[in-house]
Subunit: 354 residues, 5 copies
Amino acid sequence: MANKPIKRSKKTGLPPGTLIHIGEKKTETVRITVFEYGPDGAADRTVKSAKDCVIPKDGNAIRWINVDGLHDVQWMETLGASFDIHPLILEDILNTGQRPKLEEAPGYLFLVLRMLRFEEAAGSIQSEQVSMILGPNYVLSFQEAPGDVFDAVRDRIRTGRGRIRNMGTDYLVYALMDAVVDGYFGILEKLGERVEVLEQEVIGMPDEKTLQKIYALKRALIYLRKSVWPLREVVGGLVRSESERITDATSPYFRDVYDHTIQVIDTVETLRDMVSGLLDIYLSSISNRMNSVMKVLTIIATIFIPLTFIAGVYGMNFEWMPELSWKWAYPAVWGVMGAVFVGMLIYFKKKKWL
Amino acid sequence: MANKPIKRSKKTGLPPGTLIHIGEKKTETVRITVFEYGPDGAADRTVKSAKDCVIPKDGNAIRWINVDGLHDVQWMETLGASFDIHPLILEDILNTGQRPKLEEAPGYLFLVLRMLRFEEAAGSIQSEQVSMILGPNYVLSFQEAPGDVFDAVRDRIRTGRGRIRNMGTDYLVYALMDAVVDGYFGILEKLGERVEVLEQEVIGMPDEKTLQKIYALKRALIYLRKSVWPLREVVGGLVRSESERITDATSPYFRDVYDHTIQVIDTVETLRDMVSGLLDIYLSSISNRMNSVMKVLTIIATIFIPLTFIAGVYGMNFEWMPELSWKWAYPAVWGVMGAVFVGMLIYFKKKKWL
Amino acid sequence: MANKPIKRSKKTGLPPGTLIHIGEKKTETVRITVFEYGPDGAADRTVKSAKDCVIPKDGNAIRWINVDGLHDVQWMETLGASFDIHPLILEDILNTGQRPKLEEAPGYLFLVLRMLRFEEAAGSIQSEQVSMILGPNYVLSFQEAPGDVFDAVRDRIRTGRGRIRNMGTDYLVYALMDAVVDGYFGILEKLGERVEVLEQEVIGMPDEKTLQKIYALKRALIYLRKSVWPLREVVGGLVRSESERITDATSPYFRDVYDHTIQVIDTVETLRDMVSGLLDIYLSSISNRMNSVMKVLTIIATIFIPLTFIAGVYGMNFEWMPELSWKWAYPAVWGVMGAVFVGMLIYFKKKKWL
Amino acid sequence: MANKPIKRSKKTGLPPGTLIHIGEKKTETVRITVFEYGPDGAADRTVKSAKDCVIPKDGNAIRWINVDGLHDVQWMETLGASFDIHPLILEDILNTGQRPKLEEAPGYLFLVLRMLRFEEAAGSIQSEQVSMILGPNYVLSFQEAPGDVFDAVRDRIRTGRGRIRNMGTDYLVYALMDAVVDGYFGILEKLGERVEVLEQEVIGMPDEKTLQKIYALKRALIYLRKSVWPLREVVGGLVRSESERITDATSPYFRDVYDHTIQVIDTVETLRDMVSGLLDIYLSSISNRMNSVMKVLTIIATIFIPLTFIAGVYGMNFEWMPELSWKWAYPAVWGVMGAVFVGMLIYFKKKKWL
Amino acid sequence: MANKPIKRSKKTGLPPGTLIHIGEKKTETVRITVFEYGPDGAADRTVKSAKDCVIPKDGNAIRWINVDGLHDVQWMETLGASFDIHPLILEDILNTGQRPKLEEAPGYLFLVLRMLRFEEAAGSIQSEQVSMILGPNYVLSFQEAPGDVFDAVRDRIRTGRGRIRNMGTDYLVYALMDAVVDGYFGILEKLGERVEVLEQEVIGMPDEKTLQKIYALKRALIYLRKSVWPLREVVGGLVRSESERITDATSPYFRDVYDHTIQVIDTVETLRDMVSGLLDIYLSSISNRMNSVMKVLTIIATIFIPLTFIAGVYGMNFEWMPELSWKWAYPAVWGVMGAVFVGMLIYFKKKKWL
């Protein structure tokens, strides 16, 4: 489950830089796809082994190598060696419980993001770690499993739509980040709709399931928040970065992603406020309802208990009970009972219980 | 609805800088009005097409071009080209879910504000995005729909009242911002009145509607807050700005708007505190009322249940029940019942339940 | 009411710097008093018109001009012209909903404070805006209505007690601020006493009024807090100020006021903590009491309901009910009833409900 | 009471620097003790009047003058004059409601601390203001009443144990501060024990007193917190101080006190968290208990109310009630009643109420 | 117990730098083990007395001296003298209630960490203080008791796995810190599992034990948090440190530990949010259940109370009650009763109580 802390115990005691995949194994086979593109064209292919994807580093084309599946440590070591990646960074890529972060290493930038998916049925958020390495003419991206939000980017590379083929690797990283953050908006829309629906339910006819729905929503928001707050620092770091990997031309684009991130945070906080408001109304609704249940009980009981007492009195079997033989006693008792009944009603009316 | 997160999914996957209107379409036709003024006079007209509003940039007059309606992407592209606006900024203008922000671009400043309107009936806040571009001798403003809070500013330009005609474009932007922030005060007054009314209601005779009113108020405040907090940074940015667009003469005016913004924030926080206080009293009121319902039930039941028991005993049909044939048994039973009754009353009196 | 947001709508749409009095009109006539003093003596008089109070600016004497009542815009304009005050500052003086603030203008400092008064009966805080202008040899102070906390300062000027006559205008402003902050201590004492009283009440015998008192207290504290927090920045600004209006000799005195302000804030926060603690106990008290009401009901009902059932059984009129004709049946039933009674008591004792 | 805000109203309107003792008068007679020590020896004596304690300022010995009792203003004036203390600082010494603070004056440092004592019986914290003046070769300390935590320091001076006699006045001040902070640890231990005891009580058998104990604890923690947070700034100020009064040799010692202060703050916050957790459990316990009371009532009532109804039916006196004359009717009714009884029990069992 | 504040009262009044062991005595005998290693080999042995472990400071080998048990003050003094450690630092090592901290002293760095262990049975966290001194070619580590998380590090030194033998003392300290922080992940996993289990329990069938489990979890999180927050500053301090003890080669490793620490903090905060959410559901569950208990009571009582009243009326013994002798009265009464019964059921159905 996405919401559980990742089990790192496998790792305990090993020397740092030891490559071990930590986290759920979400795919059976590792799949590597390589995109190679430039202003003049673009080609993509799936490679069979890590060695195949190591292309001479000279040349003007930009290469985007995407790896789906992290459990094959051999692959990672080969890749790490070809692109000269620090063992601690390789380790971070394989440990799938990272918070979003940005690290500058000599020659490249390293980024961790979290790609989220909303599970409609369970109402929970599934999370996948996406690590990227932004080099001078290559971008490496690592995902836990196949299936991502990058298809539109791939499409733009293939068709040459937009400016992506004319820009550098930093623009590609921007495009991927943008796709990830756009995915957050989709999740926020769905959560927002759930809040609306729950609002109706809470005010209308809440039942015991409602509480669980509120809690699931709260949990999803906690989780979303945990992914977005550190992202803000990451994007902020890119905007302020003085690395030669980030060109001036791409800077406004990163600022744009930064604005979107802030907007996501804002909306998450607003939804959190609303959900906590929902809980308040829910609790009050329960109190209110209990109140109205109690009122019915009280009204019925307080009206009939005295009447039953009166009936009980004249059901006693004493020999000397003069009222029993009076002619009008029975109607008189009915009269008294009626008077008590009406008196009670008036009292409740005055107390606004009716 | 204003309070729902804007649906950005239309946008997902498109290259950045693609102009698409995101948000509700609030008007059918785009309407552009152009004000042209200087110390000597002012003229305003409605233009038919984006081309008409492009006036040669030289000359001393200040031009304020206001666009109502954002769905016509062609217009925007023409405007953007004439005034040389960055595609990402055009995109921000069209995506109507922005938080207030300030961006400095070469040659102009870009601002996003949110103009709010209080819907009396629903008790909710409607929001409209107002984007402005502050150039050397022109101001562009973009609204989602016709109808705004700027009529007084238009009036001052037409009549020449105040100093607006003698000042630069920064003063015009100040005047527009001031109008927007003044609108917030109007909303705060109405919300403040609602708090007063709800206070009376909560202390007096709260019902189930009260809770919904409190929640609506809370929600409106969450929303207002979301618009005002980032505004503070925007205005603060203008005050501290070293852009050549902001002249020294206008600086105290922006400081004035800054003070107003702080005051709005202050009042919003105070109202939030009060509303959360209201919820506390509301919940306590419900408890209190339930308490008093319970007390009535308890008093009636605890008095009559034992009495009914006594009556029940002497309604038994045993052959050998000597009390039944005693002469004074019946009055004696009444006496015992009376004693129980009075004893109970005294007990309740002592317990302060009566 | 002090706690309502001030209505600024009168102002909407007017050009900035337009002088309009915003807020409640608290006095009929404007009253201006002028103090003129130096090391050698002091004189004070009431002037009839704004012109009278304009005294040549040269000379060594210090002049303190105090204005009670802000609705006469003419006066303000004359004064503003004589002392060369910026229109936006005049506007701030007339808009009586300002937060405390400090502004440095060329030639003088401008301060806004809030003078508070505790209304014993309503338990609410009344607030009056006090604006001051600290010039080289004059101090202007503006109040909404006659009646203030400055009498002791006036007295010290008249009698020459303390060092006030030997110091500059900054010392006078210090003395006035000190008087305002001293007033806060008086209010805190009264609020502190209310907290003590409410503590007793809440633990002893809380009723429905208690909740309203807690809320009134909470509201007063929210209001007090709103006035004091910005004051801290104002006084801090004076302490750190490099304006030529603040001399080194007065600096320790402003530091003293700063310490007092911090102490007020501290106490306000402590009282807020206590009041929110009070609410917790109050709610628990209600629960506790309901609990004990329920226990009595439960004990009486659970004891007598089974007994009444037994009596009911032997009140049935079946022809064949052998027990009815047994000799010892009646005492036996009493015995059974007694046993049930005692058994119940023991059960409740064990459950600690008695 | 320590927890009440000090009444400063006596002071209102007096010129600043007027010496008046504000606060409770905790001792009848002022007692001044003078310690004089150096590497070679130490002597201490009690002096009769303020004049006696004024010793020529030259010489190598260090003099520690401790004053118990602040109500004698004459003494203070004499002392202030001899040691050249600023009137505002004298005023701070006499106003016993100060928060801890540090002030650098020319020639000496001025410190205010709060010495706390835990009142076991009331569960509240008593506070005493300790002011110190750290001069080049003298230390003045002022307490509200005799009795303090400094006996161990006195002892070390007399016996020459530790390095105290070989260090300067800053080390003496350090030793006194350390003693004060050590006292806080003692209080924290006692409060920690109370939390443990209350935990047992809340989980075991909470009664109405429990709530008051929780509140008393909360209040004590609020009070302790109020004394410790500003202390942190004071000690931090000493650590960073560039005053010539603080020598390099003593700096690590102040850092040590700083660490202790942080530790106290940490523990206070942890205890606060725990106490607020206690309140939650307490409230839940009450709910739980009410729940179980309600269950008993419901079970008894829902079982016997229908049975009593059946008995009531056959106690009716209609002439034509065929069942009454049936032979097996009576046992049959018993059978029905038994069936209802058992059915109810099974239902409750299924609902897990039994 | 780990969660109790450490008793420091033993210490009160002693001169600073006096070595006294404060805290629980967790072991009987002090055990010192010495590791000596370099690129070429490694040897380790247990030494009998403090003197044995003092090895000439020259030479290239790195020495790691680990001390288990802090109560033998003599040992500490000998060690302190040999390695020239400041008395205040020795004191900190012996006082086992320190928060994590980092101090730079001339020639070495001093660190305090807290090693945690989760007690499955009690659900509480046990804590042990680990102090380290990082010198040029030696590392001293001090633990309260034998048994730690360092066995994997020892193993790596013995076998030469990883790079530990080729790096300096800072890498050894890194390896030890990493082991401590890895231990936190283990605890977080266990706490995370408990949260999952409690979630099921709270939604399914909460009982009175549930609340205690929630509270125990909350307490463990408070405690964990208290250990981790200051750790962040410690590791951050190491990352930014300009001490010559920290080499550039080790810097990325400390950054790695820093990332882990942030991740621990993040998870702690998330779990805290979830636990407080659990409490909310728990409380609501109780309310819900009480609600359903009340509903059953109300339904049974409101149906049978009026019916019993009717039966009571016809059990009265008046002589003149014409209905009694009517032929169809008895079935008619049954009919009325049936009608009331069905009417009630319909009413409850409409109210959604059934």
